[in-house]
């Protein structure tokens, strides 16, 4: 009897642990499930009372109806476009800086790092406010490229710091070996460093995508007709029926959840790096 006690105690703790984990998983998943019910439940679902948490009376129809609503498809494409601009720019500009930080000691390195880190202490999206004026002047206002540029400000410091970590993960000796065995610097980079850094760079790109895709404030400030999905939803929020809002929420969630799933392996490594 006494001998069995420790194991009882142990299994009770295990129960507690797993119920805690299950509760936290439910805390994350249940709201997503419920908004999906709302999105697929249509008008009748929204006003059903009291609601059942079982998926009754749902169909794809209400969601498809929402997708066919005027402006939604365009906003979706604009969001994709702005995110594409952000991904391309932040990787193309950020990765070389990350490489320089990882491989070179140079005068001004600390100041540069400070500049990059400084951006973190600022609510960057707010900077869209004065940019409205300059963007109107140079014709970038209300364009996908303009939104992408501002989103790149959000993603660039992140990309530079993360790629620094990624390039530091590729041993310098590999590159030196390539130089010794006949590569020029660019050759060594593209033959040795780039292939080894590729998964990490892809993860960085995905994060840049998610950052842009989810950004609300700057996109809303900088667009009028060419709304991104977030900006579109924000502006039509007050006058659209509830099930449209839920469908919009679901549409916002889907791509980024899929992308986070794709890079889940890198999440912790990347944040380990970028939070240093």
């Amino acid at each position: 009897m006494t001998a069995a006690q420790p194991s009882n105690f142990g299994s009770a703790r295990k129960m507690l642990l797993w119920s805690g984990i299950a509760a936290l998983c439910a805390w994350v998943l249940v709201p997503i499930y419920l908004v999906a019910l709302g999105a697929f439940g249509g008008r009748s679902g929204v006003y059903q009372w009291p609601k059942s948490i079982l998926p009754t009376g749902i169909s794809l129809e209400p969601f498809l109806l929402f997708l066919r609503t005027e402006g939604v498809a365009g906003a979706f494409l604009n969001s994709l476009g702005a995110a594409a601009v952000t991904v391309v720019l932040s990787v193309l500009i950020g990765a070389p800086a990350g490489y320089a930080l990882a491989r070179y000691d140079f005068r001004g390195k600390d100041s540069f790092r400070l500049l990059v880190l400084l951006t973190r202490a600022f609510p960057l999206a707010i900077l869209a406010l004065p940019l409205t004026v300059s963007f109107i002047r140079i014709g970038l206002y209300d364009t996908v490229i303009g939104v992408g540029l501002v989103h790149t400000i959000l993603a660039l410091p992140f990309a530079a710091l993360v790629t620094q970590g990624i390039f530091m993960g590729v041993p310098r000796e590999l590159e030196e070996a390539a130089w010794v065995f006949g590569c020029s610097r660019p050759q060594a980079f593209f033959r040795i460093v780039a292939p080894l850094a590729l998964p990490g760079l892809a993860a960085t790109a995905v994060f840049a995508f998610v950052i842009s895709w989810n950004e609300v404030f700057a996109a809303s400030v900088l667009t009028v007709r060419n709304r991104t999905l977030t900006a579109y939803l924000l502006t039509v929020l007050s006058e659209s029926p509830l099930h449209y809002r839920f469908a919009g929420g679901l549409l916002l969630i889907l791509p980024s959840v899929i992308f986070i799933f794709a890079v889940r392996r890198y999440l912790f490594a990347i944040w380990g790096i970028s939070s240093k």
Partner: protein, 284 residues
Amino acid sequence: MQNIKKTWIPYLLIAPSVIFLALLFLLPLIQTIWLAVSEGGAPSLANLRTMAGDLNFRLAIRNTFLLALAVVPVQIVIALAMGSMVAKVDGGRETILWVWTIPLGISDLAAGLLWLSILQNSGYLNSLLFSFGLIERQANWLSYQTPIALFFAIAVAEIWRGTAIVMVIIVAGLNQVPKEFREAAEVFGAGPWTRFFRITLPLIKPALQSALILRTVLAFEVFAVVYALGGTNMPVLVGEAYTWQNQNQNYGVAAAYAVLIMVISLAATLVYLKAVRVDPERLP
């Protein structure tokens, strides 16, 4: 340690970033400050005065601060709990972590809409309360008449969304603390709480610090969640900036709000850097 003749290479590599940051970070930063403290091209405090005299100003400040105060500590605690729990799990660790990181990919707007489906009048919370007999008809949580309920609703949505990022940073930090430290403490007789407070917590200070900074800066930027759940029923600072910019077309006052938010964010960052001081010599 590099080839002397190639000193220009790193400058070439960082040049695009420097130019980009100068044009789209430093320049707008200066412009914002100038817009806020000028009027028709001359220095003036008119915008700041308009801002401070605005009806919503005090409310916005109070709400934003209260939200940050309510949200950030809870997020840190939940994230620490998640990190400690998942450290004890062998099988299914990856899946659990993935589920917990899902909100990382979700915008504040979407998070607001998510919780709207639960908290709206004919939503799931009311349905649940009704089925337990706790309410008789649909209760309203999100109107301007129920500011406290609305505040809690927004806080819950923010906690739901923002905990993921804190968790990721903290788990990444925990991964860098070798298990041996905790085991050594256990061998010498430290209980689980002592181990957590005396060993683990001090060693993840850098992660904690960056999580606090990141989350607090984001908390002062809170906007879309508020908008999605309560419309303009609960004023917050960024929401006011948005209104002045888009509805009132008054860029000066919007800039004044922007400067205020930046000052608060910077101050918070400095406070954290001082308060959670990381001494590199005391880390492994």
